[in-house]
Amino acid sequence: MSDEFKRTYPEIDDWTDSRELLAHARQQAKERQLDDVFIVDIDSHISDGGNWPEIMGYVEDPVVREAASAFGNGSKRGAFLNGSEGLQWQNVWGRIPHGQGLKEPVESSELSRETILARRCIEQMGLDYQVMFPNAMLFLGMHPVREMEIHLATAYNRWLVERVLPEDPRIRAMMYLPFNNPVEAEETVRRFLGKPGVAGFLVTSSRHKPVHTNEYMRLYAMLEEAGQVLGFHTHLNWQDEYTSQLNRFISMHAISFVLCNLVHLTNWIINGLPERFPKLKVMWIESGVAWLPFIMQRLDHEYMMRTSEAPLLKKLPSEYMREMFYTTQPLERTNETLLAASMDAMKAESQMLFASDWPHWDFDLPATIWDLSFLDEKAKRNILGLNAARIFDLEIPEKYLALAAE
């Protein structure tokens, strides 16, 4: 279908069709024969903000559902959402139009706008599956009204499961856990586990809630027993005391998108959660790769001197880190020597999964992985899709099995 899209080579603006915008991605896929490679995009972003009025229809509490109409001049747009200061800066002051979300028109259809947009990306990038994540809801962990996270997360999860996911089996999603409310997070797992298209469960990492707190143990046990992935998706927080000193988005983004996962991962390991839940599949999403060798070395170094503070551990922190999973984007690749060492340290061949982060401003393409000179083809195929198939238990389309048999 993508081959039929007629390019017009316009100046790209906020409303440009993403098939035009991603035409070079299609070209890259053809040149590299990536259509013969099984590719899973673990992290793309949905326009939950644009769909918010529709999502508000899935709020279960009748009082809250009714109150949504009081927002956005009656449109329900942005109802109850807390802040999006950082998101408004993503397009580099207008330089990267899609950084502020896709505004392109879509044909009138029974399909949801999200499915149409996802299909455009899937076709241009040559993907087999794409896992969706929220956008505006990435701030919810900082919401001043703790229970609002429950109302909004349930509405969003229902909207995905009932409206979007049934439209295309290639589209999957991780269910938003209202993590500030551990009992409700457990209820989310009970309610949505096994629903078609549900790929796992998600913690948005911008929050001040230590992951080792005892009240989460039942949740982790449930996920471990169910064989589900628990993903920590990073986000910005420009209001923390340290990050609030940073006067440029570049500075805040470089640090803040790593900081929250640094804190959660450190708590996760030092408190021995990998020993308590050895089969739980934990994934760290959208912090890139460069932070990993830093925290590996730092924790190993200190652990050897302060072993008594982490008595549950039976090996080095870095060894536990090599058993967890990481998405690739944003792949910091200005220094390929450092990147190669980082990916080797992380056992990238078995532990890393390709993620595009489309349509965000720092998205990556499958070619980003395919073109890395230090990886062999097996490692590239694992990172681009086979690791995801293993971890998320995805069916690999027959055409790849036939190719493998040839």
Partner: protein, 121 residues
């Protein structure tokens, strides 16, 4: 070597561009004043359609004699094309990235003859 017709010179205004295509080759031809510049529509970063991005002037930070910052300013003579995929900027006259000049667009020669603009490939 062959020539591709781009446009009549009068059809391209100052700070405008035209994309010309020959097979898989895409070239952006830009006009700045009376000069024309041609660059391949492939960003050296990730392969994005760089020539289809916004045309913006270079941004400078203003310092006074005591090296205190007074914010940003546009530099009129340095006109950039910004790749719409990830924001990489390139000077339209030199094809060089302003922060790391070794990162460079692939250029083509432009010929203006009898009021028409051609790019030589």
């Amino acid at each position: 070597m062959s020539e591709l017709f781009v446009a009549k010179a009068e059809e391209l205004a100052d700070r405008e561009r035209r994309i010309v295509v020959e097979g898989a080759l895409e070239i952006g031809v830009f006009r700045l004043g009376d000069e024309f510049f041609a660059w391949e529509n492939i960003c050296p970063h990730a392969g994005g359609p760089v020539c289809q991005g916004r045309i913006m002037n270079r941004v400078n930070e203003v310092l006074d004699s005591e090296k205190r910052s007074h914010g940003y300013e546009f530099v009129e003579q340095d006109v950039h094309i910004v790749c719409p995929w990830h924001g990489y900027e390139f000077n339209i006259r030199s094809g060089a990235h302003p922060g790391e000049p070794k990162t460079q667009l692939r250029g083509f020669t432009v010929a203006v003859r009898d009021g028409a603009v051609y790019v030589i490939i």
